[in-house]
């Protein structure tokens, strides 16, 4: 009989008078990859905290490695032998891989450090797992996949019994995700247990042995492998993409808004594409090499080595890119609530922020503000009068970010991983908001390493691979792509 690594029985946690986990029960065996598909974000953070550390709970019991470690009567606040791997790296960038794996972990007893010994030890680990990593490499120089692999190695070295993998597809490309899955399977066979948390059941189907569905901090159902199917999952989604897929896709303009003409940089090689007005295009980077450079070029952080970028038919050199808004380009960053909102300003001032930055700034008179309220109140509701943004829900803040771009009305909106970290409900809302931009005639570019959600709204998919354009697909090809799931590139190429 297999050992049980984690058992949570009827756990209820309440923080700030909000129920985070509600009668939550789960059990994970040794050598198992348990999937946790979260319909919404509620309870996710609390669960991870509770697995890592025995913080007080309101009701229930937690067993770790078959011993009772936490219950409603007494919480020890001790750490469990669990590790978390997520998009936000926990590596120390200025230290080497060997230091991160061996030295910076609980229980490292040696005081004198011998890099050669550590590197030899690391080599043994990496050779067995089939990873190509040097112990002396700095963590800052690693690719996204290597970072995840190093974090996994560290978890293995520190003897974590349970490793929580959280929304990792937001961090690594489709190619690297497949490689990372291979690594998980390898360590799973070695007896390590995993809790694989993700927002897409398609992703969980590929790697997990069982899947639990969680909504509002409550487990709704646990599926065994034979039950993995779209139909079995459908009843658990309050909204699905079918609800938000636009009914019609208006005809596109002919004049290109964004053109890359044989653009080359350190990682781009003769990238050539053109995006017409009003089109929503997904730039899907299979190996995470092209998008950082494209983003850098569009923001003015990078300079084109050869070729030319044009926006609205005019050259878009580095100097113009630095003043993107004045030249008709607006960025919506990943996790925009953290990066694009000014929490000290009111909702209305946040909403109007970009129109003051345009080439011909609109003076924010009382009359203009009144008109903005009249136009946007039907879209965002009474939140528009809010003076303290901390009172707003995540959904409202997303509304604010996208409506700000809508109000600014740029020629091009560049969205970086817009669905990263969003639950199903929020992803549906983001799709609606992108559709809102499209309806205004704004050209939208979605830069993504994961296309599972982007295809719902896109008119076109451009596949980037090894620094070049590997494929260009119109919307009519999407049903074929979607049926292949979130890693379409293998089959695309095979079928070509």
């Amino acid at each position: 009989m297999k050992n049980e690594i984690l058992r949570m029985e009827h756990v209820t946690t309440i923080r700030n008078e909000m129920t985070m986990l509600d009668n939550f029960s789960i059990h994970i065996f040794e050598g198992e990859i348990m999937g946790l598909v979260c319909i919404n974000e509620n309870g996710k953070e609390s669960l991870i905290e509770l697995i890592s550390r025995n913080v007080p709970i309101h009701y229930g019991r937690v067993y770790f490695n078959e011993s009772l470690v936490n219950n409603y009567q007494h919480s020890t606040m001790t750490m469990n032998k669990a590790a978390v791997i997520e998009q936000k790296s926990r590596l120390i960038e200025d230290l080497t891989v060997a230091d991160n794996v061996f030295v910076l972990r609980r229980g490292f007893r040696k005081y004198w450090i011998h890099p050669r010994v550590l590197n030899d030890q690391l080599r043994r680990f990496t050779a067995k797992a089939g990873i190509s990593l040097g112990g002396g490499e700095l963590a800052a120089d690693l690719s996204a996949f290597d970072r995840c692999a190093v974090e996994l190695l560290r978890a293995v070295v520190m003897g974590a019994r349970l490793i929580v993998i959280r929304d990792i597809s937001n961090a690594v490309s489709a190619v690297d995700l497949a490689r990372f899955h291979d690594l998980l399977r390898y360590y799973c066979k070695k007896g390590f247990s995993f809790l694989y948390i993700c927002n897409h059941h398609e992703e969980a189907f590929r790697i997990c042995t069982r899947i639990s569905i969680m909504r509002d901090g409550k487990i709704l159902k646990v599926f065994d492998k034979p039950d993995f199917s779209e139909n079995s999952m459908a009843p658990y989604y309050a909204r699905s993409y079918a609800d938000v897929t636009p009914k019609e896709f208006p005809p596109l303009g002919k004049d290109p808004v964004l053109s890359f003409r044989a653009v080359s940089t350190a990682n781009l090689n003769n990238v050539d594409f053109s995006i017409p007005r009003g089109q929503c295009t997904v730039l899907f980077d299979t190996d995470s090499t092209s998008l950082p450079d494209i983003e850098g070029l569009m923001k003015g952080d990078l300079r084109v080595r050869t070729g030319e970028i044009q926006v609205c038919g005019k050259p878009f050199p580095q100097a113009k890119a630095r003043r993107g808004i004045a030249n008709g380009v607006v960025f919506i960053e990943e996790n925009p609530v953290q990066s694009m909102i000014f929490p000290q300003l009111t909702y209305l001032k946040n909403l109007c922020f970009l129109i003051g930055e345009k080439k011909d700034p609109v003076p924010l008179s009382r009359r203009i503000l009144k008109s903005v309220v009249q136009e946007y109140e039907p879209l965002v509701g009474p939140d528009i009068h809010e003076t303290n943004l901390s009172n707003l829900r995540l959904r409202s803040l997303y509304n604010l970010v996208y409506c700000r771009v809508h109000l600014c009305n740029p020629a091009l909106a560049f969205c970086v991983n817009p669905f990263a970290g969003a639950d199903m409900d929020l992803r549906c809302r983001v799709i609606e908001l992108i559709d809102l931009l499209k309806k205004r005639g704004i050209t939208v570019v979605i830069a993504s390493v994961n296309i599972a959600d982007s295809l719902v709204i896109a008119d076109r998919l451009i596949l980037l691979e090894k620094g070049g354009v590997a494929g260009d697909y119109p919307r009519s090809d999407f049903p074929r792509l979607r049926s292949w799931g979130i890693i379409p590139y293998r089959k695309i190429n095979k079928n070509k």
Binding site: L104, V175, R490
Partner: protein, 345 residues
Amino acid sequence: MEKREKQNPWKRLMAIRGMGQVITVAIGLLLLCIVFSMLSSSFYSERNVGNLLRQIAPILIIGIGQAYVLITGNIDLSIGSVVGMSCMISATLMTNGVPTPAALLITLVVCLFVGVLNGVLVAKWKVPPFIATLGTMTVARGVAQIVNNNYNTNAIGDKAQWFRDLFYYGNFLGLYNTIWIALVLFLVFNFLLGKTRTGRHIYAVGSNKEAAKLSGVNTDATTIIVYVVSSLCACVVGLITCAIAGMGTMDSGNMYEMYAVAAAAIGGISTFGGEGLLVGTVVGASIWGVLQNGLQFVGAPVAIRNIVIGIIVIVSVLLDVIIRSNRPRKKLKTESAAVAGDKVH
């Protein structure tokens, strides 16, 4: 991977993060020495070299202390006042008949207390390091003034001559003791930073405090340790200044916090934390010393010396900023891409 292992020593040296900047600054130091020796024939005289090294030693010692603090992403503005406090407390005790070893021990304890206080304020009570150490800077200077009723002390006398010889006037194997003290402290703290777990923790706290905490590093203890090291270094420099003058002067150590930051920053210690080599501080302190000494030789006024050193500090920090912003964001994994490509096709 094997190729990486068989790199030649020069490439291995250059692969150490921050070494490039140290070598660049070292070349700058060499050029300065050449220029000054051309401008003044006595720059390379045996006597001047000895004095120059002795002049550099205190700056190197406080530079080491400040480098430790800077690597954790903090700053210690109290370092100069602790120098003054150390000088005044030791001199006052010695002139009041306290045996020299006891005076030194008391001085050390008081200085270390300031270090612990700085560390606790910054790490435990989350006071911004600039403000916390600005406060202790004023307090320490106040202590330096009050300890002898707002007067400089009298001469510490013949009984303490061995103390003066130990810290300044004596020499061993042809080198002044001050230089030996600086050398020993450098070797000890360089070893601590480069070869021990504590050293890794110091870099980790400066690089990513949150990640370090999650990795089990006691970030509070690490922060306190670096402030204690800083105060220890300041204490030693205070004793050296006391030995030089043979008395306690209330304004000793004035502006030393600036010299300390200058030595560390010129030597490539990142003011953003997480990066820097202690050997860079040696080069930084040497540049400071050579500039002071060389400009004095060519008759440049003090104001010009200060301007030149100030410009060099700004250029060094600017260099750090430029290096950081131009660092490649991510390694292009051609190997992994190729593997993926093979799978695809």
